[in-house]
Amino acid sequence: MGSILRALTLIVLIAGGLTAGPAAPARAASDAGAFVGEFADKAIALVSADVSTAERRDAFSKLVRDYFDMPGIGRFLLGRYWRTATEAEQEAYLKAFTENMIYTYSRRFDEYGGQKLVIDGTREDGRFDVVSSRIVSPNSNEEYRLEWRVIETEGGKKIVDIVIEGVSMSVTQRQEYASVIQNNGGKVQALIDALNRQMAGLRSSGG
């Protein structure tokens, strides 16, 4: 369990900014590994940038929207409930989900401790490319295994999932969302309310 929990927070850390390690492979435009490395590079540049917290969070939000397939992920997380939701619900859900995801990730910005992301390789997995990498800490010999699931869209490559020590962020959230909806008589609105309540709580606690 220990590694699970640490791993889960690491996603937040990654989002909070990691360096692409020097071991990143050559930057061919077609290479998913390079794409992931590029994202990590930009995220770490943001952490080091001398700007206000609000500015950094805005920049981070844009970065995540550029590199992650946010609407696609949002739809995937809702699973079969996407089709049962009304158009207004879909829109409200996507907005709540995106804000929520970006906010929880960017909370960790200040806890960055010099970790590096080392890209190990890429394998094909159906329609996806899966990039294997490791997070290496500067002052401990602990490592975390990280996999990035990347898909080719019309708008270029996009990240759709991060798997940390075997735990998929997207699958975890998908199961959690399904549980909320199921326990509320299949109503998608219940999930939207829960997401909005949680955001309000996190903001007021100054997180």
């Binding site: 369990m1 889960l8 609407p71 995937f76 804000e99 996806f128 898909i151 199961q175 909005n196």
Partner: protein, 265 residues
């Protein structure tokens, strides 16, 4: 002796249950006793908030990191015989060599100094739940155990068998002392675990919309990764697809609707 018999039959009973498993949606956790599980989960969570979290906080703040490291190393070393036995039972020669070498390398200091990790032999826990999975047993229903936390039928059976595999239970004749030692070991292990993951567990809770469901799926995914010893799923190795639920993934090209205000009501 009678207790051994009881334990064995309990384990067999639990194992028998593993054979049958209801159908669940792809990726979902089979949880037929969810209401009871949620209740136990809530009690565990309360124990965490009231007892474990404050204790772990004090432990983390008062005991220096190197000492905590020694404690963690020692606890892991105590479990070495169980790791070794399970690697053998899984027919995992690599794991057997790995864990045996770790045990030998760390034994001069009674496991308190983990020199094995420096030699490239990092921790590699194996338990009987994993062994059963390697033998082909399904997870069985999800069970939240009082104090022990998330588990399933297979892994609960595994816990019982691991207990009887543990040589410490057969050392000396002072049964009371042995029992106290085993309890102390679990308690210290729990405090150390909570201290090591202090902020992470708090965040996991704070950022979830259904903490119970989140822990339930993480447990399943993490166990699957441990059973595979962190190697990619077999389909992927064969050049096929291990996408599972991602088969239905539909990428989107339309930019997400940007709402003007960032305020929240």
């Amino acid at each position: 002796m009678r207790r051994v018999t009881f334990g064995t039959s309990l384990a067999l009973f639990l194992l028998a249950g593993c054979a049958s498993q209801g159908t669940v949606e792809d990726g979902a956790v089979y949880d037929p006793i969810e209401p009871a599980n949620r209740l136990v989960f809530a009690v565990n969570d309360a124990v965490d908030t009231v007892v474990l979290q404050p204790t772990a906080y004090v432990y983390k703040e008062v005991v220096p990191a190197p000492i905590r490291e020694v404690v963690r190393n020692f606890l892991d070393w105590l479990s070495s015989p169980v790791y070794i036995a399970n690697s053998a039972l899984q027919g995992d020669l690599d794991g057997l060599k790995h864990n045996a070498a770790r045990f030998v390398a760390n034994s001069p200091m009674f496991g308190m100094v983990d020199s094995a990790t420096g030699l490239g032999l990092e921790r590699r826990p194996e338990d009987f739940g994993q062994t059963l999975a390697v033998w082909g047993a399904e997870d069985g229903p999800y069970i939240v155990l009082p104090l022990f936390g998330p588990s399933n039928l297979r892994d609960t059976g595994g816990l019982v068998v691991d207990h009887f595999m543990d040589p410490i239970n057969y050392i000396g004749d002072d049964e009371d002392a042995r029992f106290r030692f085993q309890v102390a070991r679990r308690v210290v292990g729990a405090v150390d675990f909570r201290a090591q993951n202090f902020q992470q567990i708090n965040d996991l809770k704070a950022t979830s919309v259904d903490y119970y469901a989140r822990v339930r799926t993480i447990y399943k995914q993490r166990r699957e990764a441990l059973i595979r010893n962190n190697t990619p799923p077999p389909m992927a190795a064969a050049g096929g697809s291990s996408s599972g639920e991602f088969e239905e993934y539909q990428p989107s090209n339309a930019p997400i609707e940007q709402s003007g205000s960032r305020s929240i009501d």
